[in-house]
Subunit: 441 residues, 2 copies
Amino acid sequence: MNLPAVLDDESVKDLRERWPALSPDERVDAFARVPREEAFDFFLSLMPLGQSQILQALPPKERLVWMRTLAPDDAADVLQEIGEEERGEFLALLDEPTRREVSALLAYAEDDAGGLMSPRFVRVRPDMTVDEAIRYLRRQTRSPVETLYYVYVLDHDQKLLGVTSVRELFTAHPDAPVHTVMEKDVVSAREEMDQEEMARLFAAYDLLALPVVDGENRMKGIVTIDDIVDVVQEEATEDVQKFGGMNALDAPYLQTSFVSMIRKRGGWLSVLFLGEMLTASAMGVYEKEIARAVVLALFVPLIISSGGNSGSQASTLVIRAMALGEVKLRDWFRIIRRELAAGFTLGIILASIGVVRILLWQQLFHTYGEHYRLVAATVALSLVGVVTWGTLSGSMLPFVLRRLGFDPASASAPFVATLVDVSGLVIYFNMAAFVLSGTLL
Amino acid sequence: MNLPAVLDDESVKDLRERWPALSPDERVDAFARVPREEAFDFFLSLMPLGQSQILQALPPKERLVWMRTLAPDDAADVLQEIGEEERGEFLALLDEPTRREVSALLAYAEDDAGGLMSPRFVRVRPDMTVDEAIRYLRRQTRSPVETLYYVYVLDHDQKLLGVTSVRELFTAHPDAPVHTVMEKDVVSAREEMDQEEMARLFAAYDLLALPVVDGENRMKGIVTIDDIVDVVQEEATEDVQKFGGMNALDAPYLQTSFVSMIRKRGGWLSVLFLGEMLTASAMGVYEKEIARAVVLALFVPLIISSGGNSGSQASTLVIRAMALGEVKLRDWFRIIRRELAAGFTLGIILASIGVVRILLWQQLFHTYGEHYRLVAATVALSLVGVVTWGTLSGSMLPFVLRRLGFDPASASAPFVATLVDVSGLVIYFNMAAFVLSGTLL
């Protein structure tokens, strides 16, 4: 990139657009050209990975300023991106109270409620009046807080008693005690709740923030919806990459090193390849049949790919429905019935197309010899069998994986296809032996 | 389901959990059992589809109460779910000013900024003092507003001059005029902006709400982040279903009728099947070679699936990176270079595994005849070619689709596999003719 020494407004907008596609070096170089008055906003809007890249490139003296602009939960996320060796050095740049907060947050797993939460929320006491509470809020907001939307009511042990909002306080009678205007039935998350589950809570209750409590209902922090948007995107990316038959990348595509990408892709590809080798063995079993009726070999790719395609449709639907909480483990029997019917119907549709194709080609080119009717019957019956079987396996594989404690999203299109290919061959050649014995075989 | 006449707290929580899996009839039945004091919250937390199902099942008299609990943007979403014939009937239930607001919103496409926005936001004038503004806010919040987080500063023509927040007003000097404390550089969306682009704006600027303006910068409404979370989930589901090789469903899996599901899946499956028929033709071209060296047929499924798997990995990565804005059309050449190198490396890895397998089986079972070394060479060279070609096609297909105006997410694993299968056969049999001519062929 060729950039001017200081970027104008348009170029900064352009930079935001281009940001995800830039290499770490280009990012550091471009950030240095953002005008001073914009740099603060720009830095805060970056994802933790980008922030850590910039911090690590800055001279030690400048690091201090930028580290201290970060809220404690964001600082903890940035430190997660920085290697363990350097982490202490960056932690030391924070002021004492923030350092304590950040260290506490670093103890949580990155994907837990505890790892996402901010310890800076607004709190009031239950026995304050509404007017006192509003004045107290105005004082608290002078130091940074994560959101003003919800106001949490805590007792002297920091136990969460209820929640109210600035809006409710504004409209309540000024002399009413806070505990009379608060909502007592608070939706909260335990520190160790997984981020995906938390995203579902936000969606189910239309929340803007969620309080995080420990085992004794003591409030530890809040998770805000802007962090959840990132979580939802991140989880969708992981799912999508697993669907494509690979391990999820840890960083954006263009930020991932060649070696780490080959490792993520090559691992799964090799596993799938080893599985697919069974097709060579299966074909070996039917080598004599193929030698006698070469016409059988012609339809092998068509038959097995139909099983794979219908299977990957079914597994995709079930995996996504599971991720959104629409389908649970106990629903497996409902899904079997539904997918059995769907697979059979789809099989009939493909078989009909296949028969038309074979009869048409026979009329036009006499491709399939004197027994073309039997060949067509073999292909059609195999298609019904393979598509039904593919659909059923594809829809059940996510259940099996989840039951065994694996991520159902690993039941990717390539995985399902590999699984179905071998059984597709067995179905096809047995059908052929049945239909063609005495004529071609 | 067997439910008591009135649900207790635990059962309501359970119902929220089970909700997405229920049929429309079960939903209506279950909702009738939610206790009165919970029903309001419960109804408001549902997605528009669920709300419309309940509204349509209620007796006309009750519909009025529930329709009026909805904010105008939510009411518009519900009416989108209700058929055009019945829509007028439900619209008539609203009070006059809300009906006007909702009718205006219905004119926008569902997926546009205009279709997502709420016309109820808090506004102040630039020449008010901070103290006046706060008092004015307290008055506005007595009628329902979407969010208090941002306060928009409008002139007499409703033109958007700036934005401030309750927090900033709280901490500013009470006598300062609003225009001195507002942020003038406002990020806003035009009415016709697509929801996916809006989701990217929310992420890039870490917004909680986004003002929507017309061509003359007059403020029309705001879109809040809770609607954007739904958008992100919805778009991810559509992408994931397209990846699985099918048209995206319009409703949750278990809510989709059997016929509409067969149509969505059968359409794509038939198209893929027609494409895959080319493999039968391609195999037909090499029928003589297969008859002479049946051993070649054994590796057909292995070779073509390797191309398909590597291609679907590459397309998945590129599609997701495009959806997140990490990769743009102009980046195509960077991607080609990267994926060419990746494909070649992955091809070498698979070829090595393949050679080891063939040599090992030959030692153990003497499966592949006297020319087993040449067979191994054919398979290995074909794998390098097919995997490189598959990776390259998989990564470029999303670019081609986007360039032609299609959704790049249609470059699903099954689509890529079908595309690569035919070319994989051509590569394999030509490699065989080259290596084996004079011996097996």
